[in-house]
């Protein structure tokens, strides 16, 4: 500990232990700069591209002749391109950046050899680009969540291995001797993902299993990408930023432990609920349903833990952009998970399975929870890496309100339409074509919601680019907040 303190002493004559820690953090942040900026920049680009794909697909659902003469834009391809662009482009890039930054800070380890890490992130984006081009050109595998053609995957795998190894090395050689709850989630996610991905690649593409064993592998993978990669990364971010912005400890360590391990045990069995009523052994379906229902436990535990941390500090939501996005995401996580558990129950699944209701659910999870949490994290991380403030508070405000209102509008519209579709589909007296026609109005409403969310994404991208381009100001700067309140972060320095 001698070195950092002398370092701090050289900066400021009245150095305190707190100041030493902050000087150390600034070094750690600086070390993550190159890969994090590249990852975040490309994630924003993929977000925009994925949004364009989404809009095209959404318009096609109610106006099938829209761009109908282009084979590469046909619904089956553009919808797939949308999913892969927002999952492997936007979400994974953003989660890499957030995971690396969180891991470096929490482990108190400076990232080293960032050149190689940087190359890995370039590889990852190259792989995603090749994969999406392949899908649009007709090389999709048509396996849900694994559509990238086989020639794109080795690149992704190498890139992933390097990035994952980096985070683990940072953890191993960091100076911290306490493992914070966010680190459990990140470590677990980093370890689980390559296992899932390699098993799925081998058993579905390189040496396919026979018959519906494929389907089991497919959903074991696809649901676990959500449950064992995006959920842990999202929760790690919530567990970090909630106490960080509020400046108080997480409510209970015991609840954190319970929430983590119950998620780890139950979530990975839940994927079979995508096959209820299908041609896979019924005992696996029942096990999947039981596990999905058991997911109520980690969700309730985590929700209590987060809520009790927030209690008494809701006023801070008025000022802090990060907090507002993170809390919106955390609440959505609870809602999406409880909804998911209910959808696994056979009697309800009979209605909701195969309908737009499922699409609403997946957007509640991947967008209202995960994407919103990532937005919040980026609003916090970027100023610390670039040492600049966000250029425009109104743009952040536009971003928050359009995406928050947009996604709520989206989920409500598509869920109502999906339920109608489900009930009508199970009534053989209604001709199938009528059930299709009756959903069109809801699909149109969904498109409007999508336009609203697009506005938010553009506001975010403008603010992001502006921030990269603007000059760094000398001297002390004030944070970009929604409004100046008594709770602003500056006060923390007085401690």
């Amino acid at each position: 500990m001698a070195n950092p303190s002398s370092l701090a002493a050289s900066l400021s004559p009245e150095a305190s232990p707190d100041l030493v820690k902050r000087a150390e953090l600034s070094e750690i942040d600086a070390s993550t700069k190159a890969p994090a900026i590249f990852l975040l920049g490309s994630s924003v680009l993929w977000l925009l591209l994925g949004t364009v794909f989404a809009l095209i697909a959404s318009f096609k659902m109610h106006s099938p002749n829209f761009l109908g003469d282009y084979e590469w834009l046909t619904f089956g391809r553009i919808r797939t391109a949308h999913l892969n662009a927002v999952v492997y482009g936007w979400s994974v890039n953003a989660s890499f950046a957030v995971a690396i930054w969180l891991m470096a800070r929490l482990a108190r380890g400076v990232l080293r050899h960032t050149g190689l890490l940087f190359t890995a992130t370039v590889f990852w984006n190259l792989g995603v680009t090749i994969g999406i081009a392949g899908i649009l050109l007709g090389d999709s595998t048509s396996i849900e969540w694994l559509e990238f053609p086989p020639y794109a995957t080795p690149l992704l795998f190498v890139a992933y291995a390097l990035i994952g190894a980096w985070a683990i090395i940072t953890f191993r050689f960091g100076k911290s001797n306490h493992i914070y709850v966010s680190q459990w989630y990140i470590l677990a996610a980093l370890f689980w993902f390559p296992w899932l991905y390699s098993v799925a690649q081998i058993m579905m593409i390189f040496s396919p299993a026979r018959g519906t064993v494929q389907s089991l592998v497919n959903w074991w993978f696809a649901h676990n990408v959500l449950g064992l990669w995006f959920t842990p990364i999202g929760l790690a971010a919530v567990y970090y930023f909630l106490p960080k912005v509020l400046g108080k400890p997480i409510h209970s360590y015991y609840l954190s432990v319970l929430g983590f391990w119950s998620l780890a045990i139950f979530y990975n069995w839940a994927g079979v609920h995508h096959l209820i009523g299908g041609p896979v052994p019924v005992w696996v379906q029942s096990a999947g349903i039981a596990a999905s229902f058991m997911m109520v436990v980690p969700v309730v535990v985590t929700a209590i833990n987060h809520h009790m941390t927030m209690v008494g500090s809701f006023g801070a939501l008025k000022t802090s952009p990060t907090l507002r996005f993170i809390v919106f995401g955390a609440v959505s996580y609870t809602l999406a998970s409880l909804q998911g558990s209910s959808m696994a129950l056979r009697s309800w699944n009979e209605v909701t399975h195969f309908t737009h209701y499922t699409v609403g659910h997946s957007h509640l999870g991947m967008y209202a929870f995960f994407t919103m949490v990532m937005f919040g994290a980026i609003y916090y991380i970027l100023p610390r890496i670039l040492l600049k403030e966000w250029p425009s508070a109104p743009l952040i405000s536009v971003h928050f309100w359009t995406t928050a209102v947009g996604v709520i509008f989206y989920v409500v519209a598509i869920s109502v339409g999906g339920l109608k579709q489900g009930f009508e589909m199970n009534n053989a007296d209604i001709p199938f074509i009528e059930t299709v026609k009756n959903t069109i109005i809801y699909l149109e409403l969904r498109s409007y919601a999508g336009v609203l969310m697009t506005v938010g994404h553009i506001a975010f991208a403008v603010n992001f680019t502006w921030m990269l381009a603007k000059r760094r100001k000398a001297g002390a700067t004030a944070p970009t907040l929604f409004r100046t309140g008594p709770e602003i972060e500056l006060e923390a320095s007085a401690r």
Partner: protein, 233 residues
């Protein structure tokens, strides 16, 4: 730091648990299902798809049909799959063992296609099945007004008639507003032909031993009692 190995072990066993239970156990218990040989018919079921249908399967894959059409029939009493005429019985794992890639699907924007080959049939005397598919693929509005399925006109070629009109042309199947200008004809590409062949081949009509593994309603008076119980819930 000293608890890291413990955490790692826990993380490992958590996923190992479901990997064993969902992937390994099922691969071992039914990953080697074989076709059933029927001595009366002299055929092993499920039958392999004809070559052109195999190519059509790849067209089905690259166009992403699976994102709107399932290929699985749920059991009687669970949804209305059977009542809608999507199949005579529930789909079972053996139905799929000849398929290099299984397209169960998870979305029914359009109807289930597992037995679409029993709904549109070509017979020695009529091509009604493939004619319907060609009309429908060219533009779904022709056969199913109000549908939100995209048109697949790009699988058809409008070309000038040179000499005799092509025997494969579907021009005569199209309503007036879809007719090309005089001297031109609409001809399905190889991909359209193979996709239609694939759709015509989709049918699970054979009853395997395990298709009888279904719950049989108890005797009538018990059914009545159970029905009343359901209602009172």
């Amino acid at each position: 730091m000293n608890r890291a190995p413990l955490i790692f072990l826990g993380i490992f066993f958590a996923l190992a648990f479901s990997w064993t239970g969902i992937v390994l156990v099922n691969q071992i218990s039914y990953g080697d299902l074989t076709p059933v040989y029927d001595e009366n018919d002299g055929i092993a079921y499920p039958q392999a798809l004809p070559g052109i249908a195999q190519q059509g399967r790849l067209v089905y894959q690259d166009l992403g049909c699976v994102y709107c059409h399932t290929q699985q029939v749920r059991r009687p009493g669970f949804g209305a799959d059977i009542e809608r005429g999507w199949g005579e019985r529930q789909s079972v794992a053996r139905d799929y063992i000849r398929e290099p890639r299984v397209f169960l699907g998870s979305m029914r924007t359009g109807p289930d296609l597992r037995n679409v080959g029993t709904r549109y049939v070509d017979t020695p005397t009529s091509k009604a099945g493939s004619e319907w598919h060609h009309r429908h693929l060219y533009d779904p509005q022709i056969t199913s007004p109000g549908s939100n399925m995209p048109p697949f006109k790009f699988l058809y070629e409008t070309r000038k008639i040179v000499g005799e009109p092509s025997v494969n042309a579907i021009t005569h199947l199209l309503p007036e507003q879809y007719q090309p200008e005089a001297g031109y004809e609409v001809v399905p590409t190889k991909r359209a032909e193979s996709l239609v062949a694939y759709l015509l081949s989709l049918k699970d009509t054979y009853a395997y031993p395990e298709t009888n593994n279904v719950y049989v309603e108890p005797a009538p008076e018990e059914t009545k009692a159970a029905g009343q119980k359901e209602e009172s819930k």
